[in-house]
Every structure is written in C-alpha cells, then in structure tokens.
Amino acid sequence: MGRREWAGRWTYVLLLGLSSVALSFGGRAVAQPATPGPLAADPHLNMVPLSPEDAARARAVLAPPADFGAPQPFEALAAGAATGMGAVDERSFTHPSPNLASDRRLDFELGKALFDKLWVAAPASTRASDGLGPLYNARACQDCHLRDGRGRLPGPEGDMLPGLVLRLSLPAPDTDDAAAIAAHLGDHALGRQLQDHAAPGLKAEGRIAIRYTEVPVTLADGTVVRLRAPSYEVADPAGGALTPGLILSPRLAPPMIGLGLLEAIASADILAGEDPDDQDRDGISGRANMIPSLEFDTLVLGRFGWKAGVATVREQTARALSNDMGLSSPPLPEPWGDCTTEQVACREAPDGEEPGIRDGRELDGQSLDLLAFYARNLAVPARRDVDDPRVLAGKAVFYQAGCPACHRPNFVTARLTDRSEQSFQLIWPYTDLLLHDLGEGLADGFAEGRAVGREWRTAPLWGVGLTATVGGGQAHYLHDGRARSLLEAILWHGGEGQAARDQVNALPKEERDALLSYLESL
C-alpha cells in the first residue's frame, strides 16, 4: 500500500460534521503534527505510573510465547480478573465483570436497564423515555447490540432489523484547511448518518439496499471459498435523490465486551506500537488515530469505532445515542440528533427535553454515566479449549502467518486509582488499537480523523469465537458483516494484511483448520 499516501493527510479531520458542537472545535481544528506527544496524556484516566518492578513484570508477562506446546500463563483469562467464567451460551456477553465491586452491581443493572430501554417518540406520558428520533436507526441500544453482541444485517426481504448503519460523507478535499476537511463529513441534506426510521408523521431518510456479488477465491489446496462483495445504495431516499458523490460507509454494531479494559490501556503503550514509516520493514505500519475530544479540551487518541474515531466509552455512548436514536445528552445537546437544517420538519418535531429536568436533555448526565459504566464492565468470556493440541497448533499458525503484528495479543492496563476493575490487568484483546491499510477490497473511501478510506482499526478478536453463539446462530464479520465465516474475513484482508492473508491462502487444510479452531477458541 502506498503508505506515502498518508503524508498529505496528516491533518486530522473533524468528526462532528454539521453539528453545532463542531463549531466549538473550529478554532482548534488546525493541522496537527504527527508527533503523538499530547496523545499520551490520557485525560480520561486517573492513573499512577507503574513502579519499576511492576513495569518489569508487565514486560515479562507480555513476552511472545516461547513455544506452542502449552498455553501461556493466564492466556485463558481473556480479561484478567474481569474475565467471565460463566456458561457458554447466547448470553455469554451479557454478564458483568466478576471483579465488579458489590456496591457497583446495582449501577451495572441500572445501566443495563437504560441499555435495554425502549425509547418512544415525543410526546408521550413516559417523559423520561421519550425523545426518540425524530429520525433514528433503533429504539434501544440492545436492538443493534443484540445481547451485547454485534448487529445483524438487514434481511433479504428488506426487513429493517437494526444493526447496520450507513455513515455519510463527501469526498475529503485534498487540502490542509481543517475547515474544508471538516465540511466534507456528513451530507448537507441527510447529516452524518442515514436514519432508516422516523417518528410518526415524518419520512425515513431511506433504506439500506445491499447487493452482494459472489467472488470465488481458490486456495492453494484447491478449496474454493466464495466471498460476498457488497455494494450499497440508499433505496427510497427521502429527497428523491442523494447528493452526488456521497460516500456511504457501512458500519455494523460491534460487540460490547471488554470496552472498559481497552479504554484503560495507557495511550503510551498503544502509541509505542506505531510504525508509520515501517522502519522495521515488516510491511506493517500502524498509526494512531487522533481526534478532538467532546469531553476534554484537547486532542486524544481514538480507540473505539471501526476507524478508532472516538476516544472514550462515554463519548462513544453519547454519539450512538445522538446518531442512532436521536437522543440528546449533555455532550451532544441537539434533541433532533442528526437532522440537518434542511430537515425542517424533523427539527421542528416535538422533542423529549424539559427545562430544568434531566439536565434539560432527553438523557441526563447521570444516565449517560450509568450507560458508560455498564459498557465498561461487560465481562469478556474466558477462552475455551485453550490447551487443546489443535488450538495450540492453530496458535502457532497465527503467529507464523504474522497476524499478531496487528492483532496484538496482549496488553497490561494502566494502574488506575478509581477503576479497580480495569486496573493493572493482563488482557488479551488481539488488537493494537491502531489504524492499518487493509487494501482496496475493504476500503470505504471514508475519512475519519486521521483514518483514510483504506484504513481500519484492528478489530479486537476476543470473543470472536462466540459470535454465532451470541448471535442466535448468525455470524457476520468485518465492519459491514460481509464475511460469513472467519475464513472469509481473513481472505478479505489486503494492504498491510495481504502477506498474512496470502500465507493463510497457502496453508494445507489441516493447518488452516487449526488456525480456525484457534480463532474459535478466542
């Protein structure tokens, strides 16, 4: 991949598109140097530095496996003391971290109640439950994050199961002018995202229409794998036609597990994995996304979302509330959510805000904090079959193929003074939380922060083997769910992932199956 393509693009791009909040960042939205200095600050964490002894222990425990004859110490405990040890069933992602303090359990339950809460359009008697939309994708968080797992795809009959959304953008101009770059995100007519549902009396913005083309791929041993190459359109667009050149970026709702632990990794540890100029010449670069924070008056390291466009669980929660459900909260106060100034009827529709109550928003700051607390404390299930010889053989293949270069197996989280559940844990997320070029096949052409159209954040693999278990038999992988199996997902990797993908392509069946067994055990 032309890693050089990035050079002119190291200005970051405002994420906020048309929202008025974006304006408040306008003055600061200038080209940023590539040096990650300010990113390492971690304004969202109350952390103390590791003692030299702890730092040494962390280094030792993070060392690559010496051999593949047995699991590494603690390898089965995907999330350290926050690992879920429960039964493997469709509720495997729904449990609180077992190390959650007993006096916080009820907060988890309250957060869960809000996560499950079904919202209604205003006006309704249930004033604390109204304010949905007016344009929206889903009525409850859990409608997309099914049982805290990933979203489903729309059905063949066009039934509109929530779970996949289309983010909208115009092509990013080739300029360093931050304002011009910011202006490309979102559509002047439809906003940042396509909302395919509307409150009574309003018209939805359109429907997601997916067309798949089967692409056969022949592996070295002659096995044929059929990939589905998707193309996306908006059916029945509300205005009759879309803005010419509009870029559609499909995004599947990701699983909710382990988010608090990913948030608790010290930025410096993530940034240490950057190699933007591939100085070690392993073909893998890795760049941090850098974004303006809604919560802190600074640039921060992006960790969440398919392009690492959001820094914290709380901000991600507020964005999802606004974009997906049209609910205002203190960080994103527009009651109309993603409606643009051109969507007059939407902006004038009743909202769920009441002066002086719930911070004057549809969802108050306390509720947002409870939701974020819930999202931070969903346990990652323990690995299964960690010492099965086939799984161990697959692990060896995973390493030989070079997968860990991006799917970094483990981190030790920062020592935190206020979040004991996430503090100083050895975790196994299988992500470096960095952006990588994954080639043209997966590219969406959508720029977000520093991330360009071919770049994606390495997706965490913890829990990936439970996708079908949690999804009621459905398993769809990658950012838009195009892959129906883990093998398909691997074969889609291009760009920096091409070499590893080609190695998998060349594997004899036995080793390929072992690799898949290993992934299923995550």
Binding site: F74, E75, A87, E109, L110, D116, T126, P200
Partner: protein, 428 residues
Amino acid sequence: MTRLSLMYLSAALITGGITLSGQTAQADGPVDPAQVVSTYADIGAATFGDALTSARALQAAVDKLIATPSEAALAEARDAWRVARAPYQQSEVFRFGNPIVDEWEGRVNSWPLDEGLIDYVDASYAESGENPLAMLNVIASPAIEIAGEAVDASLITPGLIATKLHGADGLDANVASGYHAIEFLLWGQDLNGTDAGAGNRPFTDFVTGADCTGGNCDRRVAYLQAATDLLVSDLEEMAKAWEADGAARAAVEADPNAGLLAILTGMGSLSYGELAGERMKLGLLLNDPEEEQDCFSDNTYNSHYYDGIGMQNVYLGSYQRLDGSMVSGPALADLVAVKDATVDADLRAKLDATVAALGAIKTAAEGGMAYDQMLAPGNAEGEALITAGVDALVTQTTAIERAVTALGLSKIAIEGSDSLDNPGAVFQ
C-alpha cells in the same frame, strides 16, 4: 413490564454462570427436587390461570362498557383491570428463569407504551404547542405510516395489533398491546405529573354517534375490544403452557435441578435488576412520574407489591387463588431448610421484610400518596419509602444467593490450564 428485551439473571447469579454440581440437591431429606418443581409448575398454572380468569372478567366489563357506556360502566372496567393485575404481577417471578415465559411476556406487559400512536394525546405534551401526532394515531387514522412504513389500519383487529402495530418480530416494535395499552384506553393520560390524580378519560370517549368525545369513538371501541381479546388469548396460551402436558411445565419437570435453578433465577432477577433497579431506583433517579409501571391508573404500588408476593409464593410453595383456595406442595424452602435451616430462616425473613416494605408503599398509596407523587423531587417521605423497598430487595438478593450456595449450586468448573483451574490466579 419489559422493554421488549431479554432480561437477565441477577448480577449475582450470573457472575459465576452457575450450574448444579452433580452430587447436590438430591433427595437426601423428606423433599425431592422433582416434587418442588411440580409445586412450582402447579403455582404457575394457578397464577396464570387466575390471570386468565380475571382477564376474562375484564373482557366482560369492557363488553359492557362498549354496549352501554356510562360513568359506572367505565369505573367497573377500571376495577376489573386493577383486579386482573394482581394475579398477573404474581406471575412475574416466572420470568427470567423460563425462556417460554420470557419470549411471550413482551406481548402482554411491554413498556413504555407508544400512546401517541394509539390514541389522541394532550397537546401540552408537545413543546411546540402544535401536536401533529394528535391526527396521526391509529384510532384517528385508517391508514397510517409507522416507522416509515405504510400500514392499513382500516379494520382494528387483534391481528393488526399483534402483527402490525406491536411489531413483527419483537424487535423495533411499537408497544401497542397488553395490559398497558388497555390501561391507557381506560384511563387516558395521567396529566397530573407528580401531583395527585390518575388519568381521567371520560366515558363519552366510548360513546359512538353524536355524543362521542375525543373523536373516532367507533375505532377506539374497536381498539379496546381487540386489545382485550388479544390479552385473553395470550394468557390462554401461557396458562395452558403450565397445565399438564404444557411446554413450560415440561421444561422445568424434565430436569428438576435445572427447574430449581429456574425458580431461583426468577426470584433473583426480579428482585435485583428488574424491580430494585429498573423499576424502582431508576424512577427515583430520574424523578420521573411515568417511569412507574402502571402510570395511567396509578396502580404501580399494587404491581410492585404483588411482585413481592409472587416471590414468596414460589419460595414457600404456596399460592392463594382468586377464589381464596390454596395451591401448595413441597417447597423450595423445605429443600433449603434440609440443607441449612439458618439460610432458609434468613431468606424467609428477607422475603417477609420485602413484602413489608412494599406493603408500606401500598399503604401510603392507598392513604393518598400515589406512587408518582412519591417520585417527586423533594418528597423525602416518598423517597424513603421507595428506597426502603429497593434496599429490602437488594438484601433479599443476597439471601437468595446464600440459598443457591446451600443447595450446592456452584460455578461451572472449567477445566484446562493452570490459570483456569485456579481462577483466582490472575496477573495483578
């Protein structure tokens, strides 16, 4: 109420992901787990059966209201609705542990209601003062667009409500059926906020012809009748499921140890996450008068109270039916007492304490302080009453966990690596 969601085990019960470790909960006393789950199923059949009986009485009262609308007929229908809630709420403890109940429950007790989609709502609820929804509800509109989809609502039938309005697959559904839809039609909106008073729909909303108020009385009557018929048929289905050869009974009797787990899971989940958390503490946090459950009728105190009674029923293996007769048999309590009498005594005491705390709320409500008034900011007495209920439920959950332990319900032993054989051995 449900949020159309799968509800889960209480945090405490789930944390471990528990199962029975083989050698325990056997018949080493006078009580056999198989007998205990049979009693449980008997109570299920009786409770859902009473819910059905009282829903049929509600249906009769609704028919009467429709035939000859009057103040008295409306009052009678409202009374019948209140009576019907008591057995239904006692059945809620059968949720969470029984997938058959969980899959069904959203149809009859979903919340919050899309009331603006069903019937007219007060214009003052719209900030703009101009309420386009008043003209866009199903009762006013034979053809309506819901969530961007055109729906033919020219005939209001149970089928229309169940499949079109209430959502096809339980997802993305508009809540348009069940107890609360009927409640909204009988009472109307409660426009009193955290002040005294419930909904106050006039009986003339059900008068077809020239004296009709609220408009479209014929369609309102059709909606009320269809929603009530639907409730009756849904309850028929669940009552049958607990009778002999019913699927819900078969599920708990097939594996008595799993059945015991279902009982305790239902008790724990209802106590903790559902009642203490979602229904009581969240409403208090949000100071929301309508985060209460039976918001149109101001009947929330009864709903909470009978949830508490329901938990006692299944633990003590005894249920008093609507007709006063008793259904009882070998109880979970007996089984726990054999294992550890102290644990049993403690759990009985905690269940009593919960019923007392919920009873205090009921007494206060019947004395004039409705549940929504208790939620008002600055109502210290109301806050104390609700908080006492929350605390009792939380304490009770701990006692339920002790019973789980006493019965030998234990964490699944995951075999494998050293670190899993000793789950405490984490890197820290």
